[in-house]
């Protein structure tokens, strides 16, 4: 008795029409990447499902990994048993005992593709249900609305058991919606914005602004580690680290204090826009949430957004901070984001930033010096690193350090 295959159901993709193949192919590629380390597992697809033939690989490990793959609605592991009623009884109990959640009611749905099997479906339902009731405690049968519907499928070669439905991550397959640039500060919000964007199928690259010596190596490492978390979804991810010190110094020198924040954001957006063009992306993603801080009021966004007509996606715009924190905990980025180092957003924050900056004023203040030259210079000096999920744990540690472990 062993787990034979895993059934994968797509959610939203199955509603697509002519471009459905593109979606399915992306999903297939993403699943293949997850399965890389399981040499024997084979993936096959039919119209609205995929199957992973395990060939002896550990189904629990694979299920766990698949739970993080966007575009999968749900998963079910299936057991393969010899056509023997005693073994079948044991298998039913085994399947029931390994369920990942507690159930109070169940039913059994037997199907015979092979009518030669000595028991008909009613008999099977009866025998197997009775066996379950006898050998478990506190469960009852409910044929109308059971917590758990155990499907028994009798075929010529074997009997298959399935029924547990494990929720997938949902969304659309990664990369099926195009590419966008994520402004990754090191705070709590931006990585969450990244995850939500990936969930809707966006491929993302990260942009981090680095201002040594005002921000430290540790805050840069924070961005690297957060990007590493995002790479767990996509396998690998690009992180563009922008040297931002010169621009920030000029802003401090040139712009009235209560407007420095507004100009800083405008410059960041300009830099991000240029990197996006180079990388052939089509949008910029930020972790902004309406009204959370001075730079995220509607007036601020209006003033900042003036510098580009690229779509700026703000997946968190209508979310409360507490909800965002909850998501960050779920994506396992909260701990990294909470490390207490100065980053590009905190170190130059003025005491009283304008919450209602005006476009005409900020443009006027910026008009006395040539920021564009510095912006171009920053873009040219960008350091791009590719973070590979598998090597991510070792990133930042030299070989010399590696040997120590």
């Amino acid at each position: 008795m062993e787990f034979d295959h895993i059934i994968i159901r797509y959610g939203e993709i199955s509603t697509k029409k002519r471009n459905r193949k593109g979606f399915v192919d992306k999903l297939k590629a993403n699943i293949r990447r997850v399965l890389e380390e399981f040499e024997n597992a084979k993936l096959s697809a039919s119209r609205d499902r995929m199957y992973i033939l395990l060939n002896g690989e550990d189904h629990k490990e694979i299920l766990n990994l698949l739970k993080g793959v966007f575009g999968i609605q749900s998963l079910s592991p299936a057991l393969k048993i010899d056509r023997d009623i005693e073994e079948l009884k044991n298998a039913v109990l085994f399947y029931f005992n390994q369920l990942s959640r507690q159930v109070a009611t169940f039913k059994i749905t037997a199907k015979r593709a092979d009518k030669d099997f000595p028991y008909n479906t009613d008999e099977l339902n009866h025998i197997l249900g009775g066996h379950l009731l006898k050998n478990t405690e506190g469960i009852t049968v409910d044929v109308k609305n059971p917590d758990f519907n155990l499907r028994v499928e009798v075929r010529k070669e074997a009997v298959y058991l399935t029924g547990e439905v494990i929720q997938g991550a949902g969304g659309l397959p990664l990369g099926s919606s195009g590419k966008a640039m994520l402004m990754l500060s090191g705070g709590i919000d931006s990585p969450v914005a990244g995850f939500l964007s990936m969930k809707r199928g966006l491929e993302i690259e990260c942009i981090h602004f680095y201002s040594p010596p005002f921000t430290s190596e540790r805050s840069r490492q924070k961005a690297v580690d957060l990007a590493g978390k995002l790479a767990e979804v996509s396998g690998k991810i690009k992180l563009h680290i922008v040297p931002f010190t010169d621009i920030q110094l000029l802003i401090q020198k040139q712009i009235p204090e209560n407007y420095t924040m507004t100009t800083t954001r405008r410059m960041m957006l300009k830099v991000a826009d240029k990197i996006m063009e180079k990388q052939q992306g089509m949008a910029i993603i930020t972790g902004e949430s309406l009204g959370q801080v001075a730079s995220q009021t509607l007036n601020s966004m209006y003033a900042i957004n003036e510098v580009t007509n690229t779509p700026v996606l703000r997946p968190l715009i209508a979310m409360d901070k507490l909800d965002i924190i909850e998501l960050a905990r779920g994506y396992d980025t909260l701990e990294i984001s909470n490390r207490p180092y100065e980053d590009c957003c905190t170190v130059f924050t003025p005491a009283t930033p304008k919450t209602k900056p005006r476009r005409d004023k900020v443009s006027f203040y910026e008009s006395f010096v040539d920021f564009d030259e510095l912006v171009n210079e920053a873009v040219n000096k960008v350091e791009t690193i590719t973070i590979n999920h598998k090597q991510q744990k070792d990133l930042g540690a030299s070989d010399e350090m590696e040997d120590l472990f």
């Binding site: 430290s216 190596e217 540790r218 490492q221 701990e335 744990k393 930042g396 540690a397 350090m401 040997d403 120590l404 472990f405």
Partner: protein, 379 residues
């Protein structure tokens, strides 16, 4: 030399010492320093923490570095007791705990706490029914060791954890010092809140341990100071020790995959060789840990026996190393059999993955010879 006293301490792996020396000399920074040298040290500490977390299947934020098993047990028990005394002042433990648990409970007893000590049967196991009976409304902590340091008896930790999951006010502490790397324990699935391990029991160095504290568990620190280890264990972090422990744990877990069968075979050979010999009574339960074999030679002083074997280059111990200088009877064996003569004459053999089958053969022979010779002299 045959070293069969691995539950007292193990010989550090050379690779572990290498790492310790290198970190101490080349990455000596204080992880709390802001500059680059400090950042490097911090990176190493984080890496060590994450590696240990991965090996134990817990989270990095749940790994707290300590100075070893004694500190880990004290921090877990006193820390949990003081932080939760508002909910109640009753603690349950067993009669066969290591001194660092037993005496910590004793200390609490003198400070207003009420302690229940669960008895064990002849197999060294507590009965779940006893535990259920002992639980009260004001119980805040249950502390039970996974593998007993003297006899290798294994407690049903997973069952205890499942049982306790129905009592949200009770924290569950497990002294896993003797079990780690030898007897698998799924910390998360067993509903454990606090779990102690110590580096020098698996070929790491003395002075390094880890206390697992489940995220969200409330315990008071024992030390006041610089708020290191999320305020639960102040004191400049021992980065070199942490790295050494992470490495020792990795190597040990790798050895566990291939070496466990050998360990069982060695114990089996010792068991069969000694059981058959008249005058020897085996105290370890059959289904005990694969690396500990405890037996008594009633009528013989165990200290004399240890020295006699030492002359042949064989190193074993009487009771646990921590208690052996007190010359008192073994508390564990007394609890299991209630026989003083038996509890006064115990010998413990404890193995590691570095031991070989031939060594067991020789030890069986030498034990028999020594018993014969001594019995002639002493009777």
């Amino acid at each position: 030399m045959i070293y069969f006293d691995n539950s007292a301490t193990t010989k550090p792996y050379p690779e572990v010492i290498e790492s310790f020396v290198k970190v101490s000399s080349e990455f000596f920074g204080n992880p709390s320093s802001l500059h680059g040298i400090g950042a490097q040290a911090e990176k190493l500490l984080t890496k060590a923490r994450n590696q240990i977390a991965e090996l134990l299947d817990i989270r990095g934020s749940e790994v707290y570095f300590t100075s070893g098993g004694t500190e880990g047990n004290n921090l877990a028990i006193k820390g949990a007791a003081f932080a939760n005394s508002g909910k109640g002042k009753h603690i349950i433990t067993t009669e066969i705990e290591h001194a660092s648990v037993f005496d910590a409970c004793d200390y609490l007893k003198n400070n207003g706490f009420d302690i229940t000590y669960l008895p064990v049967n002849r197999n060294g196991k507590i009965q779940l029914a006893d535990l259920v009976r002992a639980i009260r409304k004001e119980t805040i902590l249950v502390s039970a060791m996974h593998v007993n340091n003297e006899t290798g008896a294994i407690q049903p930790i997973t069952e205890i954890g499942k049982l306790l999951s129905a009592y949200p006010n009770i924290l569950f502490h497990v002294d896993h010092v003797q079990g780690v790397g030898k007897v698998p324990l799924d910390i998360k699935k067993s509903g454990i809140d606090l779990c102690t391990i110590s580096g020098h029991k698996f070929h790491g160095l003395k002075g390094n341990g880890v206390l697992f504290i489940k995220d969200g568990t409330n315990i008071s620190p024992l030390f006041s100071g610089g708020s290191q280890e999320s305020k639960k264990r102040s004191g400049t972090e021992n980065v070199a020790g942490a790295v050494a422990l992470a490495k020792a744990l990795r190597i040990t877990m790798e050895n566990q995959k291939t070496g466990l069968e050998k360990l069982k075979a060695i114990r089996q050979m010792l068991w069969e060789g000694l059981e058959a010999f008249e005058g020897i009574e085996i105290n370890s339960p059959v289904e005990g840990a694969p690396h500990i074999l405890n037996f008594s030679i009633p009528g013989l002083k165990s200290e004399v026996f240890v020295h006699a074997l030492e002359e042949d280059g064989i190193f074993v111990s009487t009771t646990s190393a921590c208690s052996s200088k007190k010359k008192s009877p073994s508390r564990t064996v007394m609890a299991m059999f209630g026989n003083l003569e038996r509890a006064e004459s115990i010998i413990r053999i404890s193995l590691s993955y570095q031991n070989e089958l031939q060594e067991a053969k020789r030890v069986v022979k030498m034990v028999r010879n020594t018993v014969n010779n001594l019995q002639k002299v002493m009777r």
